[in-house]
């Protein structure tokens, strides 16, 4: 694909020598810094330590969902089941743990496994039944939404125990050495994802399959198993994000996952991950989530009405995609 180095002019030699993945990740990081600087100019105090911390914590939820989204997008797939995967797992957590920290000890692993298994069902549909990823994950989203709404009766009532176990809330909202617990968890995820993508053969297989599934199958990659594993991981990360979001807000509410579909895809794109697969890195997607969240925060600080925010979202995604999300010139 774009391993061909494009000769670039002047002081950009260093940038142009970089691998495209890394360069695009850097762009996303630079975009985040620009947004912070502009935010500080518009709203003094926006880029203060506490302001940045708030943005990072909010961005970390998008970043977690984007981890799973990155994995499936890297093989040319997409996970549209994210919103209700998060939501159903959050409701599963609160109803099973009943607000008790003791029960949380076994409920949290169970919820994570459930998320992974449901994600694996997505993978099975895509890899074995050859259902297009859009359809499979859309259907899964509906299934989970219907089950969650139906089983909870439409709202999480006070007596069903919709509040998060205190120990989780403590872990997420507490801090170690001034770093919020939530950020530490996301940093751990970032480290794991980087190791996985950059230094393991599993990671190499992901990129190979995303670039050319047929060639990598011929080279001995078990594409089906890989697909199932990646969708399972996407389900796992969505479940994790659901758990942490519940702990952060203290409650599981219906519809809590809805914003995360658009935001996770937008973060992945802003982070330079090619929607066609095979190109990009999680660190870029993580920077993309920060950029997106910072942008939203600036707009909120400016009292931008809802409609304006939606429109800025759209324009930002299109603008950034036009900057570096374009496919090669070979086809049309």
């Amino acid at each position: 694909m774009s391993t061909v180095e494009h000769p670039e002019r002047g002081g950009f030699a260093l940038l142009s020598r970089m691998k495209p993945d890394r360069r695009l990740g850097l762009y996303a990081l630079a975009a985040a810094i620009v947004v912070f600087v502009v935010g500080q100019l518009i709203q003094p105090g926006f880029a203060s330590a506490s302001g940045v911390k708030t943005v990072l914590v909010v961005a970390s939820f998008v970043g977690l969902v984007a981890a799973g989204q990155t994995l499936v997008v890297l093989i040319g797939g997409i996970d549209l089941s994210v919103p209700w995967m998060m939501n159903s797992m959050a409701v599963l957590l609160t109803t099973a743990a009943e607000g008790s920290s003791l029960r949380a000890a076994w409920v949290v692993p169970v919820v994570l496994v459930a998320g992974a298994l449901l994600g694996a069902v997505n993978g099975l549909g895509v890899a074995v039944l050859a259902v297009p990823a859009v359809v499979m994950t859309l259907g899964m989203n509906g299934v989970l939404q219907g089950l969650t709404l139906g089983l909870t009766g439409g709202f999480t009532c006070a007596s069903c125990g919709s509040s998060a176990p205190p120990v989780l809330a403590g872990a997420v909202n507490g801090s170690v050495l001034g770093i919020p617990g939530q950020l530490i968890i996301v940093l751990l995820v970032a480290v794991v994802m980087t190791v996985l993508l950059s230094w393991t053969s599993f990671g190499r297989r992901i990129y190979a399959t995303g670039t050319n599934p047929r060639a990598s199958a011929l080279a001995g990659v078990n594409v089906r198993a890989l697909t199932i594993a990646l969708y399972a991981l996407s389900g796992l990360f969505a479940a994790l994000a659901g758990i942490l979001l519940t702990a952060y807000g203290g409650k599981a509410t219906l519809g809590m996952g809805d914003p995360y579909l658009f935001q996770s895809i937008a973060a992945v794109v802003i982070g330079g991950v090619s929607i066609l697969g095979g190109r990009g890195h999680y660190l870029g997607a993580l920077a993309g989530s920060v950029t997106l969240t910072a942008l939203i925060s600036v707009l909120l600080a400016k009292d931008m009405p809802d409609y304006g925010r939606d429109m800025v979202y759209g324009v930002a995604v299109l603008g950034i995609a036009l900057l570096y999300g374009r496919s090669e010139r070979d086809e049309a």
Partner: protein, 345 residues
């Protein structure tokens, strides 16, 4: 098979079906459409049976007409969507276009016939313009359709909120009377019109180009198909149909809501898939999309008469969507026996 929006020339094309019998060949080439017809008939029978069991009578003219009227917005949205999907693209902005059209219809039309006509034309032009933006970004911007239309979807949703901040407004009664009268079969005329548009469009060179582009863009280009123009036109068609669907939604609901079109992004894709149009492009028929829209509406009716809690509706819709898509694939492989081992990697 991983989902890639474009097929690279190296990937093998599915082998043509064995031409042993005419019926075999027809069904192998139109597996999706055949399944859509079967599903449509099955849902209709199920609906009639449940209706008869509950009310000990067959649905009368009123029920049938309202069912058709309720399906019309989805039919138009899905038919438009099928143009984008056939080029191996996707139009997620359908819901956003419907939001804006619906809001405009409810807040601007007034009651004079001139105003209604003028705004109908303006709304259709707006839909076409949105499609033009989508198409230009896809064809000349070389962006992935899913990305482009996700972006324009957000912009359109914002725009709809700007036009109609609170749900409300009223659509002119004349519009409801003309498009969604429960006492007259105008809905059926609209369905017929949609099918007619498809039949005509399918037989123009544009209709042929869509299939060529969806099947193999590089080959289409080599054959002299204006690939970019076809892509732009496909999205313009999709946008125009979506705005028409928005007007019809306003007519059936008799009011405006800046978010009422949102669900149509997903239901239009669902209808297209159930109708047997391949999301990989180049296979399927707009008639399938129309059938898919009917199947989805009948499914809601069937769930209602089966006394299913409406909260569970998304569950059954989701399950149905996945099963229908899987059935299409499996039936395709079954009809092209001998390809089973090679078709599935």
């Amino acid at each position: 098979m991983t989902q890639t929006q474009t097929r690279s020339p190296q990937q093998p094309r599915p082998a043509p079906a064995p031409a042993s019998t005419l019926l075999g060949r027809l069904s192998a080439q139109n597996t999706g459409l055949v399944l859509a017809w079967l599903l449509g008939v099955a849902m209709l029978v199920l609906y009639l049976a449940l209706f008869a069991a509950r009310k000990s009578a067959l649905p009368g003219n009123f029920e049938l007409t309202s069912t058709v009227n309720n399906t019309v917005p989805l039919i138009f949205a899905a038919l438009g969507q099928s143009f984008a999907v056939l080029t191996s693209g996707l139009d997620l902005s359908v819901g956003g276009v419907m939001d804006v059209s619906n809001s405009l219809a409810a807040s601007q039309m007034g009651t004079s016939p001139g105003g209604i006509l003028l705004w109908t034309v303006l709304i259709l032009l707006f839909g076409a313009a949105t499609g033009l933006v989508n198409g230009l970004l896809v064809a000349y911007g070389r962006l992935q359709p899913i990305l482009v239309t996700l972006g324009t979807l957000a912009i359109l949703q914002g725009l709809a909120l700007k036009v109609l901040p609170q749900p409300g407004g009223t659509t002119p009664p004349a519009l409801t009377k003309a498009l969604a009268d429960p006492d007259a079969p105008y809905g059926l005329i609209l369905v017929a019109l949609a099918c007619l548009i498809w039949f005509v469009a399918r037989r123009t060179s544009f209709g042929m180009w869509i299939y060529a582009v969806g099947n193999d863009r590089v080959a289409a280009r080599a054959r002299g198909v204006p690939v970019r123009r076809t892509l732009v036109l496909a999205y313009v068609t999709s946008g125009t149909f979506a705005s028409a669907a928005g007007i019809m939604l306003a007519a059936t609901t008799t009011g405006g809501d800046a978010a009422s079109g949102d669900v149509f992004t997903l239901t239009s894709i669902a209808a297209v898939v159930i109708g047997g149009v391949s999301l990989f492009g180049g296979r399927g028929s707009g008639i399938g999309a129309v059938l898919g829209a009917f199947v989805l509406t009948l499914l809601i009716n069937v769930l209602f008469f089966a006394s299913v809690d409406p909260l569970y509706e998304p569950f059954y819709e989701g399950l149905f969507l996945v099963l229908a898509a899987a059935a299409t694939t499996l039936a395709g492989y079954w009809l092209r026996r001998g390809q089973i081992g090679r078709g599935l990697r």
